[in-house]
Amino acid sequence: MAIGVSVVGRSFKYHRPRGVFSAGVEEPIALIQLGSGPQTQPNMPATAVELSDGLVANSVHCWPNVNRDIGALAQWLSPFMPAGFYYKTFMWPARRWMVYERYIRNAAGLGTAPTEADPDIYDKMHVHCDVLVIGGGPAGLAAALAAGRSGARVIVADQQPEFGGQLLGERLEIDGGPAMAWVAAALDELAGMDEVGLLPRTTAFGYYDHNFVALLERRPIAAAETGRLARECLWKVRAKQVVLATGAIERPLIFANNDRPGVMLANAARTYVNRYAVAPGNTVVVFTNNDDAYRTAIVLAEVGVKVPALVDVRAFAPGALREQVSAHGIEVLNGWSVINAHGGRRVRMVDVVALDEAGAAASGSRRSIDCDTVAVSGGWNPAVHLFSQSGGKLRFDNARACFVPDVSVQSERSAGSCAGIFNLDGCLEAGFEVGAAAAADAGFTHGARPKRPRAEAPEEQPMRPLLWVPPPSNGKRFGKHFVDLHNDVTIADIELARHEGYESVELTKRYTTLGMGLDQGKTGNVHGLAVLAEARGNPIPAVGTTTFRPPYTPVSFGALAGRDVGDLYDPSRRTPMHRWHEQAGAVFEDVGQWKRPRYYPRSGETMGDAVDRECLAARHAVGILDASTLGKIDIQGPDAAEFLNRVYTNAWDRLPVGRCRYGLMCTDDGMVFDDGVTARLGDAHYLMSTTSGGAGRVLSWLEEWLQTEWPTLKVYLNSVTESWATASVSGPLARALLAGLTKTDLSADAFPHLGVREAVVAHLPARIFRVSFTGEVSFEISVPARYGMALWTTLMEAGQAYGITPFGTEAMHVLRAEKGYIITGQDTDGSVTPIDLGMDWIVSKKKDFLGRRSLNRVDAMRPDRKQLVGLLTDDPSDVLPEGAQIVGEKLPQPPMPMIGHVTSSYYSANLGRSIALALIKGGRDRIGKTVFAPLVDRTVSAVIVKPGFYDPEGARLHA
């Protein structure tokens, strides 16, 4: 600004040149792309970015550059781009949307997201405090002092790098000295208090339930670049009491072409002079409806900026202030209005018109005044965002045309200008009072209250609650009157929306995009409401306000993610044998949080080759699987059998000690939930196994039933998944292998299928389950987790003689599919009953269990429910994709009625062909029939069969 740059960006819709409008986070138009490469941040308001050495910034939203912007052609098309333009134009046909969207996104062209991973670190802090003070201006610091002196734990957060708030841009006095000297003394005192924490550069962006407030702290760039400090920190604060001292945001008056570069908020113009020693322009016309902008005129004149006129829509003169302004030789036009700004890349002239006696029409004499800047003030909006987020109810103050806090819902208080107190002395008074009250409510009572500091409280003349300039006497406005500078929403757009039936403010907002930009309408929303209210003929309170949602200002994804990125995004669980699998070159897959070997490729093998080899080994020699991830729940108590009866579909009372049984669980709506084998280890002691991914879910669910519905059952559940490491050896040579490592009799007679033995294996205390998920003779050997690696390596060494082959989850899936065994969550999806799976044999008719009543619902007994069947493709080498839709009849083109879908599909090396499981409507009645899977590149025909392709009699299982 000091070197005369006036255009910093282009507007969102019309690509009109835009300049700096404000001096804070409310900035609607001066957006920049900050930094470059992986650290770049788009759409930062230039007015809120702290300067640092070497800072890189670029304009957004213009091409090729801000001064020659091709998109500016849009402003000549603007008569064809009314409110709802995109909706009206691009709604149909839907398939063209893809084309339009690309055009629109390019034209809108807001900043660019980085394409590489962010190298910076981000932190999160969880803190509790007695009093959280949000805002470090006069009211906030006063509140912090009052609360801090009581001994309460206080956090003071302010979004700016320096404390002082509005005082930073003013030349006011407190107790007869410079106000900033009082700020410095207050900060000194606060810094000396053990229980007070000061957080500059920290925005409270969200006020959530039960006084939970989220703060975003931005660290100085230099500190972050040393790599020792997180770039940003997300503070999660639970406060007993909150003091909102969030200040107020000035708003403009709206006139034709009020978006020209050089049109700026009056308080911003003053701030640039006072705080940054920058003149906002050479010749400034001040335009106002209130006293405050008179101070801007005085400040500008004092530093030598030419102020040809102060235009005030009020007919009366505000006493002393007017005299001071006049003393600087500034012409004061009371009862006049700026109606239009001329100029392209900078204002060069404004038209001013005298208002009629009532101030309702711009009908009097007319002049033009040369200027390069218009400092405009339409009064102030208290920053009630956080108050409203907290659930507080707002009240509309008619005299000042703004919303102020009314009824609190949470433990918070507003102090200072965010509560509608617009003078310094009042802010100090409120700050001390509210700070003390908050501390008292948090349990910290004050001793003697020292005399509070004083500031001058000049007499204020009432503002005129007028937000846009009166129309000429014929009522017809000309030119664009921008309400929302960010999204290019004009008065005419809002009137049009209302004309088209958008009465509700929430709908008008979405139709016109009013207040939906990055600035969330901080300087324009109240104007929008006022325009809508007038169009509806209602007062503003009747129109209401849109919802204030978090965040108050944009929050980076990095801060929200914190350290939970990369490997720390989700915990990963590894079995005790993990390192062996890694060394064996296993390819891992995620099963829940577990890392499980999917297959073990040898050099030169594809995945298919490896899986085929592993599958053949498990059926012809012996395979070994790391089954440690299976969920294990220890169940003890005299009512354990009764408990199992209630949660499993089959009966458990007669299972003897030393035996195990497969069980299926349903939710109470009758849908299959999980399955697994449960063993009886003692009279009142069972061990339940669950799916690997379902262990936590099943335990929580069992606990819920126990605690909420069956509290009288004496049953205790405990997760023991991580306590055991399990190796499963499977295949015709499994028995011989294991026999060499244990004295336990493994013969089919002594240790039949579904037997359970305590044993010693390879000198390790072990538990052996004879259960099989492959259809071969299998022994699941569990040892305490710390012996897992020893067990595994011993089995591998001893197994060399038998051709032992480690196999992964993929081979396991193929082997079980060959047998027609289901995997819950793959062959079921929460809409499948045991009957749908053809597992009637496991559903007891004699007892109640979760889901039983639901199986008798009419819907559960429909004959056309999807049922589990097998599919054999006509071409045995063709493997159906899982998820493929199945049709009964092949039609020339879609749509074809779909009758089901493929749930599991593999190439089976043992069978020398492809196999699949599918859920097909009325599938069991269609056995033997041919169905089709229409795919993108081909249609596959297949025959429906029973789901069980290999050894259906189970001879191998019992061998």
């Binding site: 959530y208 339930d209 039960h210 006084n211 939970f212 999660k236 639970r238 659930g391 819902v409 109470d668 709506d669 929580s700 606990e703 819920e704 605690q707 909420t708 519905e709 509290p711 109640d848 039983r852 009543r853 639901s854 619902r857 009419v858």
Partner: protein, 99 residues
């Protein structure tokens, strides 16, 4: 984020808990005496009041106990919590009857 009073552990952050839906929607003791409509009502038709709601929560990342909470669904104000099998706090019961 709510601050939830676990009857066993005291006030804790909502992140430690899991929500369990409507409380006192107990499973019928003899399911067979209920026709399909009544059974479906138990399974699927949950209260969704504007105002006081009695609901189950579990202190999943704490003591793992299930309990009930009386919460206002509009303001999120929590009027109290109580153990499974206990009666709702008096204030909650009154509000519910008058509602």
């Amino acid at each position: 984020m709510l601050l939830i009073p676990c009857p066993w552990c005291g006030l804790r952050d909502e992140v430690e808990f899991k929500y369990g839906g409507e409380a006192h929607n107990n499973r019928p003791l003899v399911p067979d005496v209920h026709d399909d409509t009544a059974w479906a009502a138990y399974l699927f038709m949950k209260k969704n009041p504007k105002g006081l709601h009695l609901e189950r929560w579990v202190h999943a990342a704490g003591c793992r106990r299930w309990f009930n909470v009386a919460r206002d669904t509009v303001s999120n104000r929590i009027d109290g919590s109580y153990k499974i099998g206990e009666k709702p706090p008096a204030i909650a019961a009154e509000t519910e009857e008058s509602a």
